[in-house]
């Protein structure tokens, strides 16, 4: 009974969060637009020369993804906190790990995935050479969920605060540095003709660690924030 209940609760949370996001398109669209705008600032600010752009393309996209996910993260638990449904989640008899994990997946599907889908186009505009695209998309697929789950801990810790936009980034961005390092190293390595598999494997290891540990920390953080 309880077993089936946990699965059902997982699916229900996932479905509910996806539905809410579809109805509140602005929360998804603004970070997405922010991502596109930030990327298009770099050629203007640094150099329009494609020789220069191709060197920085992977890094620019990765950094813009990081910044955009900081923006979208803010909506992760806020409305649930404000309307009280977060407390209901904590009071529910189902494991909080699964519910938090479902919320993370839903959030990644609506905020991470669109950014990844549009990244090859932006990479093309930044003159990324052809060898880089597959690795870029793969590194983003493996890396962005890690950033999202790390951010989820910080969001949970600050969910009760009035103004928290910047503190979230101050906490999360330094923690995401390893993901940025291996994401960009993977792309640079495949541009240099090497195999990016080692770096992608490291990103995969981080993802495995994040999936198993981060929701535990997020659940603990939610319990602290809501007492």
């Amino acid at each position: 009974m309880n077993r089936a209940g946990a699965g059902a609760a997982f699916r229900a949370t996932l479905k509910r969060d996806l539905l809410i996001s579809v109805k509140r398109r602005n929360d998804i669209l603004n970070p997405f637009m922010f991502f596109v705008i930030v990327v298009s600032l770099f050629p203007i600010g640094i150099s329009p020369e494609s020789a220069m752009l191709r060197q920085i393309a992977a890094g620019v996209i990765w950094i813009a993804v990081l910044l955009a996910s900081m923006l979208s993260m803010d909506s992760l638990y806020r409305s649930d906190y404000e309307d009280g449904s977060l407390e209901q989640l904590l009071l529910s008899s189902q494991p909080l790990y699964l519910l938090v994990f479902a919320k993370n997946i839903a959030h990644w599907l609506v905020s991470g995935l669109p950014v990844i889908l549009v990244s090859p186009l932006l990479a093309y505009m930044l003159a990324l050479p052809a060898e880089g695209y597959v690795t870029l998309v793969l590194s983003l697929l493996l890396g962005t969920p890690v950033v999202g789950m790390l951010g989820s801990i910080a969001v949970a810790l600050t969910v009760g605060l009035g103004s928290r936009g910047l503190i979230l980034a101050v906490i999360t961005v330094p923690m995401s540095v390893p993901v940025l390092i291996f994401g960009t190293l993977a792309v640079q390595n495949s541009l240099a003709g090497g195999s990016p598999l080692g770096y992608l494997a490291l990103l995969g290891a981080m993802l495995a660690a994040a999936v198993s540990l981060a929701p535990v920390a997020t659940a603990a953080a939610l319990r602290i924030s809501l007492n």
Binding site: I153, A154, L157, T158, G160, L161, R164, I167, V170, I171, V173, P174, M175, V177, P178, I181, F182, L185, M206, A217, A220, A221, I224, S225, N227
Partner: protein
């Protein structure tokens, strides 16, 4: 409560801590002054100039000691955080709260002394290709994150537990950051092996001076942490009878 755990809970009593440290402090301060004096005088006056680096090698005595000490802050805060979360001992949080700014300050000093040394030895004040500089910088950012979380949360109890959790996560993260930044090429001097021969690049005259300085800096850390924690105790326990009596005596 079983007798085996009594010492642990007594250790967590602010009053016990305050009384014990009143007795320890003179000794700790004395030892700190002694080691600092020996270390600084040795490094500045008696250490022979390095055959390559000249007199700038003297700053390494301080730099190595401060750098080593600044690495202990996240483990310290993570342990204190675990005690806060599991046993809810207030004293652990008082230590953790004051450890964060101290750690940020030590990390900054590490970066500053390293950068001054680097400006002469490497010819540059900052070098991104050096992995230790970069991971120290991110340790500083993480510590500042913990401090700003502490100031952002008004409720002291919530702030204590939130910072405890963030310190544990941060402690794991610092290790991951360190190893990922290490993948970069590095300019930094690999740690020189210790040598027993006088006059060799890392001979006893250098590493003994550094060892004295490391002890001195750890003592300095202990003294600062105890002093700030004692202040914190007086502030938070200002309703307690023994604190009132103490304040009345002081007046």
């Amino acid at each position: 409560m079983s007798g085996r755990w009594q010492w642990f809970h007594r250790l967590g009593s602010p009053k016990w801590f305050y009384e014990k440290t009143t007795r320890w402090l003179p000794w700790l301060v004395g030892a700190m002054a002694l080691f600092l004096a020996v270390g600084i005088v040795w490094a500045l006056l008696f250490l022979p100039p390095d055959y390559q680096q000249g007199h700038t090698s003297r700053i390494l005595v301080v730099h190595v000691a401060v750098a080593g000490t600044s690495l202990s802050f996240f483990p310290l805060m993570a342990v204190a955080g675990t005690v806060t979360l599991v046993w809810r001992i207030k004293l652990a949080d008082m230590v953790a709260k004051n450890a964060a700014p101290l750690g940020a300050w030590f990390t900054f000093l590490t970066l500053a002394t390293g950068s001054i040394w680097g400006s002469v030895s490497w010819g540059t004040w900052w070098e991104w290709t050096d992995s230790r500089l970069v991971s120290m910088l991110f340790q500083l950012f993480l510590l500042l994150g913990v401090i700003s979380l502490r100031t952002a949360i008004e409720n002291a109890e919530t702030a204590a537990r939130a910072c405890a959790l963030l310190s544990i996560v941060g402690c794991i993260n610092v290790v991951i950051i360190k190893y990922s930044v290490d993948w970069w090429n590095t300019l930094h001097q690999p740690s020189s092996p210790i040598s027993m021969e006088v006059g060799s690049p890392n001979g006893p005259e250098f590493w003994v001076a550094t060892a004295v300085m490391i002890v001195a800096v750890y003592l300095f850390l202990a003294v600062s942490l105890i002093l700030t924690t004692r202040n914190e105790i007086l502030q938070r326990e200002d309703k307690a009878q023994w604190v009132r009596e103490l304040v009345a005596q002081a007046r």
